[in-house]
């Protein structure tokens, strides 16, 4: 093989796949969102009509979409602080000692991150079950009332969120722990000599030095919750009464259950714009971070 041709042979197949399934779909979504594409359009392209921005105007008048949007705002608002603070706390504590026992404990916190969501959801549905679930047994055995974990509109949000928090912290703990171990011991010892106690050392030395890792974890967690899908999809199917339907789940339902591909594509473009905006803000802030 010729040396000038070689790079194209190496790069070509992957780029072709990336273009087909990474870039091209955005263009298709943008186009389809301007049509009335549905199940009949899937069978024959001639059934597809151009409808301009009708899908978008319909979207912003659709109470279901607004509900999904507010649910997503709620999940972001509660989920992000919960995941970030919990991951930070566990990482700081795990970093206390490099002993074998502490190292072994890491595995326990990490393992939920590599298990499949469907299996996880079955296990949690069983725990949450109102008739024979373990959680209600624990509540009643200490004299509390049993709860409707997944069928109470408000509680369902938290129950679904809890599973995501449980699954989401492991990865962040690993990232923060790696950053913590990169902090030079000298700094902490110097602060110690100056009379700073453990809390002050953590608050004024460790956490500021974590800076970028913490920022990174916050942004990826934020984007993760903006895309929140798996847990409500398998645990509640978005119910009860749509209270756990996220924007992603709304798109999925409109697209694959109602076969309103045009309408769903409009939803996915709105989600894309939101996520792209968050990513750009992140890049901006990172640049400013470096300037200081």
């Amino acid at each position: 093989m010729n040396r000038r041709l070689a790079p194209y042979v190496f790069v070509g197949p992957a780029m072709l796949l990336l273009a087909t399934f990474g870039v091209f779909p955005i263009l298709v979504a943008a186009f389809v969102s301007l049509t009335n594409m549905n199940i009949s359009g899937l069978a024959r392209w001639s059934n597809v009509k151009f409808v301009g921005f009708a899908n978008y105007t319909k979207l912003f008048r659709d109470p279901d979409f607004w509900q999904a949007l507010w649910n997503t705002v709620f999940f972001v608002g509660v989920g992000v602080p919960a995941v970030v603070l919990l991951s930070l706390a566990v990482a700081l504590l795990l970093n206390r000692s490099g002993g074998r026992f502490f190292k072994a404990l890491r595995a326990f916190y990490f393992v939920p991150a590599i298990t499949g969501i469907v299996a996880i959801s079955l296990v949690w549905s069983y725990l949450y079950n109102t008739q024979f679930g373990l959680l209600n047994f624990l509540l009643t055995s200490v004299g509390l009332k049993p709860l409707q974990w997944l069928s109470d509109p408000w509680l369902a949000k938290f129950s679904v969120g809890l599973v995501a928090v449980w699954r989401g912290t492991g990865l962040n703990i690993i990232i923060l722990l790696a950053a913590l171990q990169g902090i030079p011991r000298d700094y902490l010892e110097a602060a110690s000599l100056d009379g700073a106690n453990a809390w002050q050392r953590t608050r004024f030395v460790t956490i500021p030095l974590l800076g970028y890792a913490l920022f990174f974890v916050t942004v990826t967690t934020l984007i993760g919750w903006l895309q929140f899908f798996d847990e409500p999809f398998v645990l509640t199917k978005g119910g009860p009464l749509g209270t756990t339907t996220s924007v992603s789940l709304f798109i999925y339902k409109e697209g694959f259950q109602q076969s309103q591909f045009g309408y769903a594509s409009a939803g996915s473009l709105v989600l894309f714009v939101v996520i792209a905006a968050v990513t750009l803000i992140q890049l901006r802030m990172r640049r400013r971070d470096i300037e200081y």
Binding site: A6, Y8, V9, F10, V11, P13, A14, M15, L17, L18, F21, G22, V23, F24, P25, I26, L27, V28, A29, V32, L42, L93, R96, S97, F102, L105, R106, V111, A113, I114, T115, G116, I117, V118, A119, I120, S121, L122, V123, L127, Q131, F132, L134, F137, L171, I174, I175, A213, F216, Q227, D230, V247, S248, I251, Y252, F256, S268, L271, F272, I275
Partner: protein
């Protein structure tokens, strides 16, 4: 000084105990899953529940393979994993191309690689389905595997790693008359074993757990993966939790074993993904 050290040690001990309790709570759902999978159906529905199975049985595991089609789902899942390893090879080749060659279009192609890292799957799922449908690939294993076959981020990681391979080594091989493909497979790949290990394990995990695309693409039960089969169990057999727990264990326990063996690579891989 020594009382200070004792106080320090006591604090470490307290933190250790607190972390151990936290770890047990985190791991408890898995323990509950495993224990319940060995309970007879009646016992799993009992209230108050038992912790340890009173009359342990493996009947549910047998049912999964004998009466339900989990053997086939397992094979399908492994096939999806196998196809995704082809993707791994393609991404390694692309990473090498970007790392070690100057060519026309390199800049914008690499920009494309970075740009796709920002696009979430929920945004592309509808159009990707339409694209696969027009390629007549819905309801095929290839259709299940194709959308996630290559990812910008993994190409990026391969490129970062392969940039460190010395040019002299490659030039020497060229002078000896080795072809470009031969150089890739007999020099570059052996030198890149660490990154292959990390990515290989992560690819396996992602393929094993894959749910969204099998769910969207496979209409025919013959093509279901373990995840999809499992989610079906959720709808059909709400009254047999121990069967569900057995199926969940079937999916989760292999991941535990994989983690026990490859812990270092997995943790490294996830920490690397943190650089994104």
């Amino acid at each position: 000084m020594s009382t200070d050290r004792m106080a320090q040690r006591r604090l470490t001990l307290t933190i250790g105990v607190a972390l151990a309790i936290g770890a047990l709570i985190t791991a408890f759902p898995f323990l509950w899953m495993l224990l319940s999978s060995f309970k007879p159906q009646r016992e799993a529905l009992d209230f108050p529940p038992t912790l340890l199975p009173v009359a342990p049985t493996v009947e549910h595991y047998v049912t999964l393979f004998r009466e339900l089609d989990f053997g086939r789902y397992l094979v399908n899942t492994l096939l999806v994993v196998a196809i995704s390893f082809i993707g791994l090879l393609l991404m390694a080749m692309a990473g090498y191309g970007f790392a070690k060659f100057e060519f026309r279009g390199r800049r914008w192609m690499f920009f494309l690689v970075l740009a796709t890292m920002m696009i979430p799957v929920q945004v592309t799922m509808i159009p990707t389905f339409l694209i696969l449908n027009s390629m007549k690939l819905t309801n095929t294993l290839a259709g299940i595997a194709l959308p996630t076959l290559v990812s910008g981020f993994n190409i990026f990681l391969f490129r970062q790693f392969m940039t460190a391979i010395p040019n002299e080594t490659l030039e020497a091989a060229r002078l000896d008359g080795a072809g470009e493909m031969r150089i890739f497979f007999s020099i570059v790949v052996p030198m890149a074993v660490p990154i292959f290990a990390v990515q290989g394990v992560l690819t396996f995990i992602a393929g094993w757990n894959s749910f969204l695309w099998p769910l969207i693409i496979a209409n025919d039960q013959k093509l279901y993966t373990l995840s999809v089969g499992l989610s079906l169990l959720n709808q059909q057999l709400a009254v047999n939790p121990s069967l569900q727990m057995a199926a969940a264990s079937l999916m989760v326990v292999p991941m535990f074993i994989l983690f026990a063996i490859f812990q270092r690579y997995i943790v490294q891989g996830f920490a690397l993904s943190g650089l994104k």
